[in-house]
Amino acid sequence: MLKIFVMYPAANLYLTPDLNIAEVVLDNPRIILLLEHFNIYVPLHEKTIREISIENNLNFDLFLTFANLYNGISYTSPVQFSFDEVQSIINFLKKSHTYYTEEMYPDIRNTIKQMFEVNNYEEMALIDKFFKEYFKEVTVHLNYEDNVAFPYMKNLHEHLVKGAPITEPVTYSVKEYKEHHDDIEEKLNDLKNILVKYLPPKNDQKLRRRLFFNLSELENDLNIHAIIEDMILIPLVEQMEQYLKNLSE
């Protein structure tokens, strides 16, 4: 009799410190992106997650938590790390920003342009404009994080290390970051819907597929990015704020 074979997606394996990181990458190619965001590159040889974390001065719990996010394990409540991890988290997020702005967005823009070159039709012109405007919004948001939110958090941590209360007037708080942190995934999702459901066929299937893969890849990374901010970074910064406030009282 035919037996059912359930193919569990490898991407849902819960990762532990002694797994071979190269094997983890082979099971789930997206982990390579996680590594790059941590400034780690292939080849990985026979190293375990624990070894590669230590080698790169990373807390392996933090590494594991992020890696599990890339493996499809989601967190529904805040994950606690020590204040000292703030720098690593920010570095990771900044590196992801570079990936978005210097790699993904130009790639996507380029594909849209190529589609437009193949078929010069009005919908494509609108899509090009749509994406251009969207990218502008995203850039504003990422720049805000890089230039305002992250430096503020770093400053908090420096004060904390010194045990010195903040003396300069406090004009900013992570609350603002929370509010600014608007939903940049919405328009990406709109574009995917238009592409998959509605855009009339124009003999450009390969370009469309490439565009769709890129949009999905970007969306996935942005999703994880948002989880890291909401579930890990923001709660941690809120605690730092509270700690420093108590210190100055």
Partner: protein
């Protein structure tokens, strides 16, 4: 407003029950969740509300197929989802309306549940009518030309709240939320032309 969906989880493991409940309670659809300990126990939770979704470990079915088939006939509005974390005969799994694997990410689990919610609920209705109504088309056309909710309301002689409801339905049907995205949709569907946009 949509009524909560009655969900019964028939599962021996407390860990899995808690985990599933947590995922389902965050689905965005109102749910009422009960925990059953056997197939007979499950039936108790169906009676009070005939439109139900049962998430059940196939383990409870494999030696009770007769009883299971009887229940399916007795409660035609109920949907049965197998929650799988071991190997089962495909013929057994084929008795269910859908299946969820223990390794499925939460969005897939929620997707399966939403897809299967018995018809009559709000979520299902909007999924079935994919084509926009005449009024929704009117709203979309005005929206795409750049009018604000208030202006659309005045033009169509309806309240702002009605405009907002139409917009919500349009987004639900198309999967597109932003105005610029909806504008592209309107052009693709030939509801407006680029000349309309330039005016």
């Amino acid at each position: 407003m949509s009524k909560p969906v009655n969900i019964v989880i028939t599962e021996i493991s407390q860990v899995i029950f808690e985990g599933l409940s947590r995922i389902l309670s965050r689905s965005g659809t109102p749910v009422h969740i009960s925990h059953a300990a056997s197939l007979s126990d499950t039936e108790k939770f169906i009676i009070s509300n005939k439109k139900s979704v049962i998430v059940i470990n196939p383990f409870y079915i494999q030696n009770n197929i007769k009883q299971f088939n009887a229940l399916k006939i007795e409660y035609p509005d109920t949907r049965w989802i197998a929650f799988i974390y071991a190997f089962y005969d495909p013929q057994l799994i084929s008795l269910f309306d859908a299946a969820i694997n223990i390794s499925d990410p939460h969005n897939i689990i929620i997707g399966v549940i939403k897809k299967i919610i018995p018809s009559g609920s709000d979520a299902e209705k909007s999924r079935n009518e994919e084509i926009l109504s005449d009024r929704e088309t009117d709203v979309l056309q005005l929206l795409a030309t750049g009018l604000a909710n208030k202006e659309i309301a005045d033009k169509l002689n309806i309240s702002v709240n009605t405009v907002i409801t139409h917009r919500k339905n349009i987004s639900q049907k198309t999967g597109i939320k932003s105005i610029s995205g909806l504008t592209i949709y309107a052009v693709v569907k030939k509801l407006i032309t680029l000349d309309n946009l330039r005016d």
